[in-house]
Structures are given as C-alpha cells and as structure tokens.
Amino acid sequence: MGVEGIGARALRKEDKRFITGKGKYTDDMVLPRMTYAAFVRTPHAHAKVTNIDASAALDMPGVEAVLTGHELVADGIGNLICGWMIHSKDGSPMNMGAWRALESETVRFAGQAVAVVIADTQAQARDAADQVVVDYEELPVVVSTTDALAGGAPQLHPEAPGNLIYDWDIGDEAATNAALSSAAHITRLEIDNNRLVPNPMEPRAALADYDAAEEHYTLYTTSQNPHVARLVLSAFYNVAPEHKLRVIAPDVGGGFGSKIFIYPEEIVALWASKRVGRPVKWVSDRTEAFLTDAHGRDHKTVAELATDANGKITGFRVQTVANLGAYMSLFSSSVPTYLYATLLSGQYDIPAIHANVKAVYTNTTPVDAYRGAGRPEATFVVERIMETAARELGLSPAEFRRRNFIRSFPHQTPVIMCYDAGDYDSSLDAALKAIDYDGFPVRKAEAASRGKLRGMGLSCYIEACGIAPSAAVGSLGAGVGLWESAEVRVNPVGTIEVLTGSHSHGQGHETTFAQLVSERFGVDTNAVAIVHGDTDKVQFGMGTYGSRSGAVGMSAIVKALDKVEAKAKKIAAHLMEASEADIQIEGGELKVAGTDKKLTFTEVALAAYTAHNLPEGMEPGLKEGAFYDPTNFTFPAGTYACEVEVDPDTGKTRIVKFVAADDFGKIINPMIVEGQVHGGLTQGIGQALLENAVYDEAGQLLAASYMDYAMPRADDVPSYELYTTETACPGNPLGMKGCGEAGAIGSPPAVINAITDAIQNNNLAMPATAERVWRASRGVMAQAAE
C-alpha cells in the first residue's frame, strides 16, 4: 500500500474482508452452549397486560426459560434512561416515563417486548414465543403529534401529564416578536418532517455470556459506542459493575445513529445469560428492526421569517412539536432541542431568533438521533423558508441567500452556536457554476417543449458536528462528556497500533486513521493497525456519531502522536548525539537537520524497547495516550443544488442533476469523504422522495417491511457531482470538519425546493411521492391548458 498520507485517495483497508465475506459481525460469533432469545412482542400499541401464560411455551422442545418483566424487576434491573436532561422554559425538568426492558404491565407501542423465550435454537425460541399467550386489555391510542397534545388525548405516562415531555425554548422571544411585528414582509410556512426508519444493512444483534466463576459478563453487540454502552449498562441498568462487563462491538454493518442507543434486547440478553447460565444470542429480524430500532425525525413545525424592505432577514420564529414516540430513548431529548434549534440561524445573519419546541409522547416506536439528528430538521425548516421567502419577495433564491450570508467570523448566532469559520459565498458559487444556474431557463423551456416540468432548488446548509466541548454540553444537560481518547503503541519493530475510542461501522477508520499515522511518521499504512470496539482493549471512548470521529477522534490520535513523536525525537537525538530541536521526521526516518545522520523509525522504536541506551531518566517503551476535548463544535457547510424534471402525467420526479459543494475543512481521504457524501445524499433524497414510516390510527406501523417502506435505489438517484471548498476548522489540530451527515442534512430541502419550483406549488410534503407530486401539479397543468 505504501505511504499514503493526508489527502491520498487510499483504498479502504477494511474492504478486503467486507467484500470477500470475511467480516466478523455479532451474529458470526458462536459460543459453546449458546442459546437463542426470541421476544414476545405486543401487537397492540397501547394496552394493559392482564395475563402472560407461558405454560405451553415451556413445554416446547429446547425451551430453557420464558422470562417476563416481573422477573426483570424482581432482579433489580433498572429502567432505560434518557441521558440528556432538558428543562422546560418554566425550569421544570423533562417528564420521563418509566421504560422497562420487558414490560409486563402496560405496553405503549406495537412491537414492545413483553416476554422473552430462551431456547436451544433460534427456531425453537421463535416457535415457543408463538405459544406464549398474552392477554391484553386495550387502551385508547394516540399516534400523531397534534393529537398527543389535544385535550382528552389518551395518556401514556403518569409522569407526563398531557403527554408533554417538555416545553422548551431558545432565543429572545421579545426581540423576535418585535422583529416580526415591524417586518416589511413575513413568510409563513407549515412544515412536516416525515418519520424515518434507519434501516442499517445489518440488523441489531447481541450475544451475552455470563461467566459465573468470575461473575463477569461479555457482551458482543452492534454498538456505535461500546464504552458508553458499558457505562450505561453498569451505572443505570445494574447489570454488572464496569470492571465485570466487557462490551465488544465487532464489525458493525451500518448504524446511522440507530446503534448509539442501549436497547432492551441487550439488557435482557445479559440478564438472561445469568438467569439460564448459558450464553444468550439475539438477532433482530427485519420486522423487529422496523418496530424497535429508534426512528428518526417526525416534527411538525410552523415557521415565520421576517424580512425588511431590502430583503434582509430581521427575525425568525419557529414553533415545533417533536414526536419522541412511546419512551425517551437514550439521547432523544437533545435531538429536537440542542441539535435542532441551535442551527436555526443557518448560514444567515439573523438578529433575532426564537424557537419553541414541545416534545410529546405517542404510542409509536421511540424516536432518537438518525443521520443528522436535529440538523436535517433545522435545515429543512430554514432552507424551505428561505426559498419560499425569495419567491414571495421576487428575488432569485441565490440572491436572497447572498444578501443574508454571514461573512465575518467568529459569528455568534442568537441560538447559542458560535460559528468559527466558513465561506458560504464560495460554496454557493461552486454549486451555481456546476449546475449552470444561469442557463436554467433555457433548460426549463426545452423541457416544457417536451411537456415536462423542470425545477431548480438550492439548499445552503450548515451543520454542527463533533459536539463539544464537554463542559459546554454538560451545562446544556448532557449526561456524558464528548471528548475522545486515543493510544498509540509503537511496537519494538516499528509497527504501530492505534487504539481509538471511535467506532467504525462503515466509516473507514482503519484507512483514514492509518493515513494520519503514515503522514506523521512516513510509515507504510500496512504497518499501522487501528484497534477499536472493545472495552478490554481501549480504555475509554465516546464512540462514533454526530460526524465526530475525524474532528474529535483523530484529534485525540494527533495528541497521542505528538507525544510519541516528542519521545522518539528525544531518543533519536540522544542516539545521534544531536540537539532534539534538530531532529526531523521524514519518510519513516528521523534525521538530524543539515547532516546525513539518520535513524529509521524502526531503529528508534527498537531502541526504546531494548532500553540499552536511553536518555537519562527516560522510561523505556514507546506508547502514549491522550484525551482530547475540543474547544467548539465544527461547522461543515455548503450548497446543494438540485435540478429535477417532473412528468406531469405521472407525477414522477427525476433528479436530472445534483451538485454538492461542501466545506469539510481538511480532508484526509477524498474517496472516503465522497462515499460519505454519496450515502448521505442518497438517504436525504430517500427522505425527500420515498421514505415514510406510516402508522394507522390504532398505532400499527403499516410501513414495516420493504414492501411498504420505500428505500432509495440506484435508479432513484443521479450520478452526483461533488465539489469541495476548504476553510480550516480552527478548533482542532487537523482543521477537520465532519462529513458523515452533511449529505443527509442538506439534500431534502434542495429536492423539495426543486420540485415545488417545477410544479409551481409550494404545498408539498415529504416524501414527494409520484402521487403527491401529481396531485400538487394539477394546478399548474390546469393553468397551462388554459
């Protein structure tokens, strides 16, 4: 592979095992005497459990146990928690209802686990689960955000009167109201953000093994953050103290946020493993994934944008109701608040912003962070209303945005965030040029001559990732710090192991992190191993989500590399009898500047371990660790431009061209970044055109399989055109920003802006299915016919 440092389009080291089927996932793990778990799940969205009869199931072949919430509670297993405290505007803490890993009294969403069957084989466990007879007394159901807050709505939790979890606000309400009342123009928009199912390729899985002699548990699980899983399992669920619990997240096939959280199934697997004295494996089937993986989005928003006579924004008022489902998932409270409303300033200089967010319980699957987590919701509100306001004001959408861009940094927004760096004009310029914005009218006319409707939509997104610093997020209610750790171990022969608290589940860390080491020491990337995902190997870490692995995880590695480099230079200087300041590392060698004296990195490493000749007082070895806590979020930003062609006869939208111009700061591996952007754009286009988690009034998830839930496919998306601009992030040593979520954050409004432009009807909800577009385009077609 050779030396492939920062900026190289290095092929992914991990792909050899992935594309040859040699990856090792949780379901690949097989332990002696292993049993399988199958959960008994309620078909009702809201009901009292009146009786659980397991007698027939216990008589089935191979059945080891049938366990319910009664045993779980008796054994002292704690309730699931939400780890980010939000206070309502009246100062009261959020109203969190109790959530048991197995619920044997009142179930609150269809699919919630009531009992679990442990048997010798998976088939036996599933067959026996079918024989567990549960009697329910049905309760009235509430599904939508609007209904949840209505008087007389069914109540989910005694802890949350009126189903209200919190009534939170941010910004200056008085100043915003004043701006609106003195505005030359107010643009008002009602915006729904559709509910999504994450659908990682690998469903969740857990394999728990209790060692009675050591009183020690091992959990293999599909986690994006094994250390946080261990912390929560230990501190809140009382499964085992941390030193008696090892959590391993091996190869994980995608997460998109849904594998951040600790779910009931992992808790039950651990607990059941001790109860039955055998390892317990559970693997989600796809229906269970639809029903129990935390969903994403589901907002209902009213937004009002005030502008003056010159098209300058003077105020922005946003009221949102967020549906958190039946229970508060691990980080659910933060998503519609600090990850959402803090981004409502977009790329624009807005003097006054006020947002009110009400979070509600409904009889639906819990909702939590999903690729973008709050920022797609914010971007959709901001960029839809920017486009709408431009149309109302008779300005070109590009010009209206330009008039309001932030151009001096750092910029303090009215909603907490302080943007450190950016150049929004340059990404807008790049996108407009690439999509030939000025030539659009010609293409529109040409399409019209063929009876087709062309539309152009822009989205100038900004997002905040690498949530930090820890003290700041702590003051906002986070239950954990959001730093990262790293350890760099140089072996005696010069190969290097990097232990990281980040977790790779598709991001390509084994390649990019190795490129960083290669850049610093000039060693072959094949001589570098990235170790992650095991609490017994890596001391602690916060995992991977919120596009943080580069900006935070790699920064921790940089700090550890700094320490290794300093020590290696000391050793080299000592061995070559030179001044430490004159030692330079280049091409895998430590050289004395201005001379031909040099030592290879391997020679220095070996010297560190033989310890025959080290500087006075120096400890042997070459291994350093570091913790890195960033000084700020990083703020990736960019412009997405989408051109669509709508067939008015069928309502089918074809994305003719999609241009992404992103500012991700310093890029380590452009190929991997492009892959991230492709994936993010496709998920965003999926949300805009196809995906919708539909519930019926009784709380049944109707879109619970790939027959009814439309995932984007290759022929739904165009060949993307990607461009990058670069302003370095001043908040971390590499100047990196995050790239993992931007595509999903910025693309939905670009698509909807383009379609609404094409059909000349701004009233179009996501997903913009052919039927919806066809119906919405009737008006313009009728006009054209006249």
Binding site: P43, H44, D130, D696, Q700, A704
Partner: protein
C-alpha cells in the same frame, strides 16, 4: 378501513337468514374454517386459518351478533387472535333484501388489524378480504342452491340456454318467437324448482340466521376486514 360488499344469493331471505345461523353451513363455507361453534344464540367461536400475503396464521375468533332484526339485518362484531401474527377485529352491518325469489346481501364492515398482519400484510388485506368474502358467498350460494339438487346454478343456466338455442336453431325463423317463449318458460320452471329446493333446505331448521352472518362476518370480516387496510 371500510369494506363493502354485495352478493346475490339464489335463495329466499328466510333461507339465507337461517343458513347464516347454521354452524355446519358456516363451517363448510368459511374459507379455512377449522372449527365453529355456537355458544348461545348470539355468540359463536371459530378457528380460521387465514393467509394474508406472507402471514399465515390460525385465528381464534369470537363473534357476537347484535341488533338482530330477522330476517332483515343484524350487526356482527368480532375479534380474531392470531398469536404472533397479530389480531383482527371489527364489525359489520349485514342486510338482507328480497329481490324476487333471490336475496341480496350487503355488508359494510370495518376492521382493524394489528401485529404482523398490519406490518406485513396491510396492503393485502383488502384484496384478501374480498377474496375470502367471494369464496364464502360462492360456497354459500352453491350450498343453498345445491341442497337436494344435482344441478348447480351454472348447470341450470347452461342447460336452459342450450335448450333454447337448440330450439331456436331447429325452428328458426318461423318458430323463433315460439322457441323464445318456450325457453323463457323453461327458465322460469327451473328457477321455481330451485326455489322450492332452497325452501326445503331452509326448512331444515337451521338455527338463528345471524350466526352465519356472524361467521361470515367473522371469516369475511375478520379475515377480510382483518386484512383490509
């Protein structure tokens, strides 16, 4: 969801009402019905195996008949539990109207399904329900029309038509009018015979008529309704 249907049954209203309350007839006619019992005049229990798309399950159903107005109308409400496959529950208004010697049955049903039925089969429920309803009423009509009679409706029509055609061909054009008259007469005669047979069958003391509706409603409605979206 709401499901509506209308069926013409070649039997008198009283006959149809009675048959709808005959557990034996219902068991025979409800697609996938394993057992069906009448626990009292207004309650029935049944086990029906139904397949909706990828979900196949044995549903244990309980049906209650309400607002009985024999032989014109009643309401059936029921619930079927299918274990991990989920559940279906719903109700239907069933009406019987006389149309000459035949009966027109109409139902308006609403049903709700849950669990796997909803998650995997919701979009198939309407069509499955209709299919089950068609199967039920087809079997039901045949059952009523076939009592003590070797000819089915189809046989009857075909025979009459063949006879009419034969006569017409032989005597045409001179005796055409006569032939048509004969044919019409023949048809009427056949229909009258069939009616008599149906009445005989109905007279065999089937229990309360609504039960069949209940079961139908159970099978059709629960299965169909359950399936309906």
């Amino acid at each position: 969801m709401d499901i509506q249907g209308e069926y013409r049954i070649p039997a008198s209203r009283e006959t149809v009402w009675a048959a709808l309350n005959d557990p034996d007839i219902l068991r025979e006619c409800i697609p996938g019905c394993d057992t069906l019992e009448k626990t009292d005049d207004t309650h029935m229990q049944a086990v029906v195996t139904a397949k909706v798309g990828p979900v196949k399950a044995k549903f244990t159903g309980a049906v209650t008949l309400e607002d009985l107005n024999p032989p014109e109308s009643y309401r059936i409400v029921g619930e079927g539990k299918g274990g991990v496959a989920g559940f279906a529950k719903g109700g239907a208004e069933v009406r019987l109207a006389e149309d000459g010697a035949e009966t027109i049955l109409t139902y308006v049903a609403n049903a709700q399904v849950g669990g796997k039925l909803a998650q995997l089969g919701s979009r198939l429920i309407d069509s499955t329900a209709r299919k089950m309803a068609d199967e039920f009423f087809g079997a039901f009509s045949r059952r009523l029309g076939a009592v003590d009679a070797p000819l089915s409706d189809d046989d009857l029509d075909a025979g009459v038509m063949e006879e009419a055609r034969h006569i017409a061909m032989e005597d045409a054009p001179y005796h055409l009018a006569e032939a048509i008259e004969d044919a019409e007469e023949a048809i009427e005669r056949r229909v009258h015979d069939a009616e008599e047979k149906v009445e005989v069958a109905a007279g065999r003391g089937v229990l309360g008529g609504p039960f069949v509706w209940g079961l139908i409603a159970l099978a059709v409605i629960i299965a169909a309704l359950a399936l309906a979206n």
